[in-house]
């Protein structure tokens, strides 16, 4: 099928795009092991937004893959993952921020670029009715953050690779907000943030 839209998002950039109900979004990890920090909102009322905890509870599983329904804060299905050539995506690790980088790595890391900065700038430039209040816990596509039965949390080497992708069918009109992660303190991306591609495929024609 021919995409109706495609755009490469370079490393370290923010991005937002409206997707209509029924359209399919494909996010491609072009060079491998690139974390794609992603949030979703009801396009008509962004106070209804992706909920990591409701998504986990609905499927009683921590990891996102084919079949996972992405659940909103109001308990509605925003999108469904319908294809996944990576196999597992994270929604526990959240987004990097200048301030959390100081905690995690060193106090002198505050100058470094971060996902939260990309989210904030993208909202300020292109979604002026939204703000930091709307930045909630996100999905990290292509990230591997396993939890042990004893309650430990690890940031493992990625299990993605060049060209792997995830496809999501929009179950309502949704706003997608992406930060193509600029993190340079974490070996998960081999300290080398790389571009991704976002493609949108039209909704299948309704059957008569």
């Amino acid at each position: 099928m021919t995409p109706s839209y495609r755009e490469v998002v370079d490393s370290g950039l923010g991005y937002s795009h409206l997707v209509k109900r029924g359209e399919v979004v494909r996010i491609v990890d072009l060079e491998g092991n690139q974390a794609v920090d992603t949030l979703f909102y009801n396009a008509h009322d962004p106070s209804e937004r992706y909920s990591a905890s409701d998504t986990i509870v609905r499927q009683q599983n921590l990891y996102l893959t084919t079949g996972t329904q992405l659940i909103s804060s109001e308990g509605n299905v925003l999108l469904t993952i319908i294809a996944d050539t990576c196999g597992r995506h994270d929604t526990l690790g959240g987004a990097c921020a200048a301030e959390s980088n100081q905690v995690r790595y060193a106090l002198d890391k505050r100058h470094m670029h971060s996902c939260r900065d990309s989210f904030l700038l993208e909202l300020a430039l292109h979604q002026p009715h939204m703000s930091k209040r709307d930045i909630t816990s996100n999905i990290n596509f292509f990230m591997n953050v396993p939890v042990t039965p004893e309650g430990g949390l690890k940031f493992d080497d990625g299990i993605s690779g060049p060209g792997r992708y995830v496809e999501l069918r929009a179950e309502m009109d949704v706003l997608i907000l992406i930060s193509n992660c600029p993190q340079l303190n974490n070996p998960c991306n081999a300290y080398n943030p790389t571009p991704i591609e976002v493609l949108v495929f039209p909704a299948p024609a309704p059957e008569n």
Binding site: S53, I56, L62, E74, A97
Partner: protein, 239 residues
């Protein structure tokens, strides 16, 4: 009872909020065994700074909370420290129930029928209590569920662990002035389809303003040492 110590109790289904001043210690007691209070935390003087479960877990390389852990805000600062805990595991991954989820699980339980025994759901309770502070839907984030233990298997499948001994306690020390919101309502993964949340006891006392350099929560990992430094920069010179 000394007036420098506050004691309150929450019935099953009840919500509560309060600004916990820096240095104050809030102790929650699961009176009968089975309470799983949901909690949200905000910087009381700037509520745009709020609890962040992801930053809390990844800074401390943990998927659960217990003594020695701290609750991080989204600004790299410590809201509260867990200074005592007899439960050993508190959940912060599985969130809370909406009104629709509560209706589907427990049935109507309306005010018209049950009066103040009505079935209250966590999200509605949060909205009511947050509304008293000028906050709302956009301020609700994944919360803490005290006394709830949910464990994953190697594939990430979650299991509810019914640890129900009465009298379990957890103590939180506020590291700045913190707005804390509690809802003593059923946990979304509690398998019981019978609406019967049990009582929660609260006590608050004033502790010291300064956190010693050898404090358990400050020293439990290098990240927390930096988190306390960033938090103390809020209070420049005030001790």
């Amino acid at each position: 009872m000394p007036d420098h110590e506050l004691h309150e109790s929450l019935r099953g289904g009840q919500m509560w909020s309060r600004v916990l001043r820096r240095g104050q210690v809030l102790t929650l007691t699961d009176v009968e065994g089975g309470a799983t209070p949901a909690a949200l935390f905000y910087n009381a003087s700037q509520p745009l700074e709020r609890y962040n479960f992801a930053d809390t877990l990844k800074a401390q390389h943990t998927a659960m909370l217990t003594r020695g852990h701290v609750l991080y805000s989204d600004m790299g600062r410590v809201l509260c420290s867990i200074i005592e805990d007899s439960a050993g595991w508190h959940d912060t991954i599985t969130g809370h129930m909406t009104r629709a989820a509560s209706l589907a699980k427990f049935g109507a339980g309306s005010f018209q029928k049950l009066r103040n025994e009505q079935h209250r759901d966590t999200r509605s309770n949060f909205l009511i209590e947050l509304g008293k502070h000028g906050l709302g839907k956009r301020d609700i984030v994944p919360n803490v569920n005290f006394f709830a233990k949910i464990t994953p298997d190697e594939n990430g499948q979650l299991s509810w662990q019914a640890a129900r001994e009465a009298g379990r306690r957890v103590s939180l020390r506020a590291e700045m002035d913190v707005l804390i919101v509690l809802s003593n309502t059923p946990h979304p993964l509690d398998p019981s389809a019978h609406y019967a949340p049990t009582p929660l006891a609260l006590s608050i006392h004033q502790g010291p303003l300064t956190v010693p350099l050898d404090d358990l929560c400050r020293t439990s990992c290098a990240q927390n040492g930096r988190g306390f430094q960033l938090t103390e920069q809020l209070n420049l010179g005030v001790s």
